[in-house]
Assembly symmetry: C2
């Protein structure tokens, strides 16, 4: 290689060149007060000249901080996680933290969990669904004293930061929206039962029907796993029934897209012959035709808020069991996949 690998300058090199003590250099690089302007200038100049880079590892070892935040995910793909990732990455960058992503596949995979928690001392950890409701993970985090934030949790945990939307109300409103369009025979495709939101969304659907005097039928409620394939399967089940529903509410957009695909194969026109709605406002919602009416969940804002409450200046509450918590607003995004039966 024609590139010289320069040996890194250390803090004491800078101190020597600037004619001050290491501690003063340290003060400058940690934005502490009480450093005279002229020394500060000299130090910055010396640091620039030597191309000084404070070592993360040394800072961590000496200062009991790692400058590393963990994001624990179940599965690193999909639009939801991508949004969480993007938002958390941005927040980390702005706050001077680095993000380590760890995949915790199986529920209560203690071996992996212990390995991860043991090797890195996280300054904070963000948990995405469904890991945010894994008690093994929560307890391990508590035991190691790592401040934790949960995105979209089911159960409450007062000692951890928590951001969420009201899945129940959102599903209730969406169902009401369909009812308002004259639909009575509305099917529901459930979400992955391991995700806390699945039950909430189902409950919203059921209660809305009941609230409007529409009988609830198990024939119209079919299982799903949040995947495109499971949405397809659910549609097949639904279409095999005696009377086809006029509307299908899928607990997420991926499944709604699966329904759309099956409808198309069978020559069922959407929305004129069948209305379909989803949940999440996933990227897929606007990629399929017709674009899906869905519930928008402000995932990026939620992740940003979680980070702020976890690592921000006013995050001290996390230490004494009074962690921040916030419920974000959802929004029904009307697009082209619902027909007005009263038209």
């Amino acid at each position: 290689m024609s590139f010289v690998k320069t040996k890194n300058a250390t803090m004491s090199d800078v101190a020597k060149l600037a004619g001050v003590s290491m501690k003063t250099v340290s003060r400058v690089f940690n934005n502490e007060k009480y450093v005279s302007q002229d020394k500060k200038d000299k130090i910055l100049e010396a640091a620039a000249e030597l191309n000084f880079k404070p070592s993360l590892q040394a800072r961590g070892l000496a200062g009991h901080k790692s400058y590393i935040v963990g994001l624990f995910v179940d599965e690193p793909s999909g639009d939801y996680i991508s949004k969480v990732l993007r938002s958390t990455l941005r927040a980390c960058g702005e706050a001077g933290y680095h993000l380590v992503v760890e995949v915790l596949k199986e529920r209560g995979d203690e071996a992996k969990l212990r390995r991860v928690l043991n090797s890195i001392r996280f300054d904070g950890v963000v948990l995405s669904p469904p890991i945010c409701d894994d008690l093994v993970v929560l307890n391990a985090l508590r035991a190691s004293g790592v401040p934790t934030a949960r995105i979209g949790p089911g159960l409450d945990a007062p000692d951890m930061v928590q951001v969420q939307i009201d899945d129940y109300r959102a599903a209730y409103e969406m169902t009401e929206y369909l009812i308002g369009k004259g639909h009575k025979r509305i099917a529901f495709i459930k979400g992955d039962p391991n995700h806390a939101c699945s039950m909430e969304r189902e409950r919203g659907y059921v209660r809305a029907l009941q609230g409007h005097g529409i009988p609830v039928s198990y024939d119209l409620m079919v299982p799903g796993m949040f995947s495109f394939a499971s949405g397809r399967a659910a549609a097949e089940t639904l279409f095999a029934g005696a009377v086809r529903p006029t509307a299908i509410f899928a607990a997420n957009d991926e499944m709604a897209a699966g329904v759309l695909a099956v409808a198309r194969e069978r020559g069922i026109q959407v929305p004129s012959e069948l209305s379909i709605v989803g949940f999440d406002d996933d990227a897929v919602a606007t990629v399929v035709s017709p674009a899906l009416t869905t519930v928008r969940q402000p995932v990026e804002e939620m992740a940003a808020a979680a980070f702020e409450m976890l690592m921000g200046d006013e995050a001290d509450g996390v230490e004494d069991g009074q962690a921040g918590r916030r419920t974000h607003a959802y929004e029904i995004r009307v697009r082209e996949s619902v027909a007005d039966l009263k038209g």
Copy 2:
């Protein structure tokens, strides 16, 4: 909290309890040879009892290793990056590394780059497109002596690990496939010009037409940026022309999905009235209807190979300018979006 935060045991605690020196404990935890079995057993037992966790930071500081690999991305969402992420994450886990994701948005964003490179001492860095062709990034990495792997690069760099497919040949074959189905008026939607593969794919399209004696027309080649929206815009442009193409080859699947959406809105039947093919075998390819015929690129295998060549046992070549390199096989995935005109 009702959870006791136990103070972490250190290596010397373990050494004391096991009745050996720290060095011997260190040997055990680094899988070095030359430790008698009985001492090893004692040490492991003591470590378990004390719940000893070697500190990543101390190991890094003392041993000049960080156990951290960097993944630099342009934009952390999308199916391609998700696959790279998933695969790299798995490889890291197996090899005992942690993955830090860094977003380098703008081309040559030196400030952010320097900050990132300065604060963490990466044991290796993986570059995804289009960053893998950003000379500022490449040179900065060389200057800091960090072993680097590039996924899908355009230009060659013998001192860095490199994995790729032959985009030119793949696009050539795909075009030939359309020609074989009787298409002559084949349009092409270009990719983001900042991605090296865009030019290769375009070249493959052009050469294939020429190779089969079909005139190439600028009217049939429209710009795109790899996004759904740009695919839509390109379709509008193409449909505004005097004679509609019988087939459209989009440089990626997202854009192909955009074309599909516009076709649907205009009542153009796919594939009977218009054939559409994409590239990448992105998740979107099987979510839309009809499912897209496309070129499958084994992104996960490529990322795994890159990691192996970068961090694996036989990765020494990276140090002396003889980095590994591999061209993976692509595959044309025939689905439902192409009509046979000779039928």
